[in-house]
């Protein structure tokens, strides 16, 4: 009997998992429908762009500059084993633009933005503010969800572009000031190796990650239940699920662009 109970638990968990996936897909489909149909709340969207993009600049910038600098130090040490110290600039720029810029910026924003969205919408849910919106003939998907999704999807590529530049500069500073590499040679090798595809793939990833970050925040906040504890759980779930989805989609998109 014990094995059967064990199987029943696994079965219930699996069915619960499938139900969650279905629920999320329905929420996404519902959101997409409202994303492209009027009315559009542009003022709220612009305000969200400021909150998501502008106010995330310091954390993204700091992450990028230290990542670029550490990357330069590590590649120099690793490269010196093969007499490949001159490739530091090239590896730093490719790594930053293709992978580390979008992924690290997105993970930082999953912590900063996805949690904030889930907490805000979750609080609105448990204090009946979302019900109040509905009774005031305003669709919460259009008023709350769509502006955040548009803002995050548009803003994250801009943030990543800035993170890429700051990350490369971090690598440049470490390479020239700490490792004593020639500044002119470093910059030339950096610019020469960079191709448009590297940049566009990174920015496309950023747009997808931005969508996922806002979607997870909105989904978990919108479906939060049970007061402060429910809002807390929604916030945690939003950050965890956004982070996992960022890493999953990073693999899928990398495979799509480069394999």
């Amino acid at each position: 009997m014990r094995e059967w109970n064990f199987l029943a638990i696994i079965g219930r968990l699996f069915i619960g998992f499938l139900a969650s996936i279905g629920h999320l897909l329905l929420f996404t489909a519902h959101t997409l429908r409202h994303l492209f149909t009027p009315p559009f709340f542009w003022r709220i969207t612009f305000r969200q762009m400021l909150r998501i993009g502008y106010f995330s600049l310091p954390v993204v910038g700091l992450t990028a500059i230290f990542t670029g600098a550490v990357l330069a130090l590590q590649i120099y040490v690793g490269g010196s084993r093969f007499n490949a110290e001159s490739f530091v600039g090239q590896v730093v720029v490719i790594s930053m633009v293709r992978e580390l810029g979008p992924v690290l910026a997105a993970l930082m924003l999953a912590g900063r933005v996805s949690s904030a969205i889930a907490a805000e919408i979750g609080t609105m849910r448990v204090t009946e503010q979302i019900d109040a919106l509905t009774t005031l003939a305003t669709n919460p998907f259009k008023y709350l969800v769509a502006p955040r999704l548009i803002a995050a999807t548009v803003t994250l590529p801009l943030l990543v572009l800035i993170a890429d530049i700051i990350g490369v500069m971090g690598g440049f500073l470490a390479a020239t000031q700490r490792l004593g590499l020639n500044a002119g040679v470093y910059m030339k090798s950096t610019i020469d190796v960079l191709e448009m595809e590297d940049v566009t793939s990174g920015l496309t990833k950023a747009a997808v990650f931005g969508f996922l970050i806002a979607l997870m925040g909105c989904y978990h906040g919108y479906n939060s239940r049970g007061g402060a504890q429910g809002v807390g759980a929604a916030t945690t779930d939003a950050v965890v699920s956004a982070s996992v989805l960022i890493l999953l989609f990073n693999y899928i998109l990398t495979d799509f662009f480069f394999s």
């Binding site: 204090t127 009946e128 503010q129 019900d131 509905t134 009774t135 005031l136 003939a137 305003t138 008023y143």
Partner: protein, 260 residues
């Protein structure tokens, strides 16, 4: 049929189940145009679920909800928005938007649903605030800076600002002191009368029910156990009503609770 003879709110055979819990088991009620019905009942009896079904916030399993003769269950898109534009709602905790100032809250329905210019909406919002005894000096304050009573009044101002045909009140006096409860009750009566609106209130505050309602309905085990004029409730002879309005410890409510 003349529109005046059609009940403004008409609910028939409303059922709703959450898992194994049958919350509504066939609610039937009607509210005449311009009249005020108060639904009373114990906590967890289905009052809020009934209200949320009528507002379209919860989808009932079965049953009919007609507003002004028009079926509203399953409405979507523009038709649903047109229905919602006819109603005003005061939530239990006021449910003011904490990202907006008080006047923006009050003007929200005018600007978003009616497309009114902001300046005109602000004037109407200030007028609605004055009607509920809120001074214009608090218009730019954040809702969190207001007392519970002021938040309730701001919520009432938001509900009446678009001059709706139907007003819903969810536990309007919960959490307020007796004096503020009396003030809110008076404001509700006056504003409903001013607008000529139909009103549906849910509460377990008998003082509030007697003051606000032309008629009162008691909900019990998912059905309407008694419904009648508010001045007849004391001698209606229904044992559940008798226990509820006199707050007796012993009676059919208690017997059912002990059986569970």
């Amino acid at each position: 049929m003349h529109s005046a003879s059609i009940p403004m709110i008409s609910v028939h055979g409303l059922h709703k189940r959450f898992g194994a819990n049958q919350v509504l088991a066939g609610i039937d009620l009607e509210v005449e145009r311009g009249k005020s019905l108060v639904i009373i009942g114990a906590s967890g009896s289905g009052k809020s679920v009934t209200l949320k079904c009528i507002l379209g916030l919860i989808k009932p399993d079965s049953g009919s909800i007609r507003i002004g003769g028009q079926e509203v269950t399953g409405l979507s898109g523009a038709r649903r928005e047109a229905y919602l534009a006819k109603i005003g709602m005061l939530f239990q905790g006021a449910a003011l938007f904490d990202s907006m100032s008080v006047w923006e809250n009050v003007a929200f329905g005018l600007i978003q649903a009616r497309g009114m210019p902001v300046r005109q909406a602000r004037e109407k919002a200030l007028a609605a605030m004055e009607k509920v005894g809120l001074d214009a000096s608090i218009a730019d304050m954040n809702p969190a800076e207001l007392s519970a009573g002021m938040q309730k009044r701001a919520g009432l101002a938001r509900a009446i600002a678009p001059e709706p045909e139907i007003l819903f009140f969810d536990e309007p006096t919960t959490g307020l002191d007796p004096i503020m409860s009396g003030v809110i009750n008076e404001l509700i009566v006056e504003r409903v009368r001013d607008l000529g609106a139909t009103a549906l209130t849910i509460t377990h505050d008998m003082e509030s029910a007697r003051r606000i309602g032309d008629s009162i309905a008691l909900i019990y085990q998912g059905r309407i156990a008694w419904c009648g004029p508010s001045d007849r409730i004391d001698d209606c002879g229904e044992p559940h009503v008798d226990q509820f309005i006199n707050a007796r410890v012993e009676g059919p409510f208690t017997a059912d609770l002990l059986r569970r």
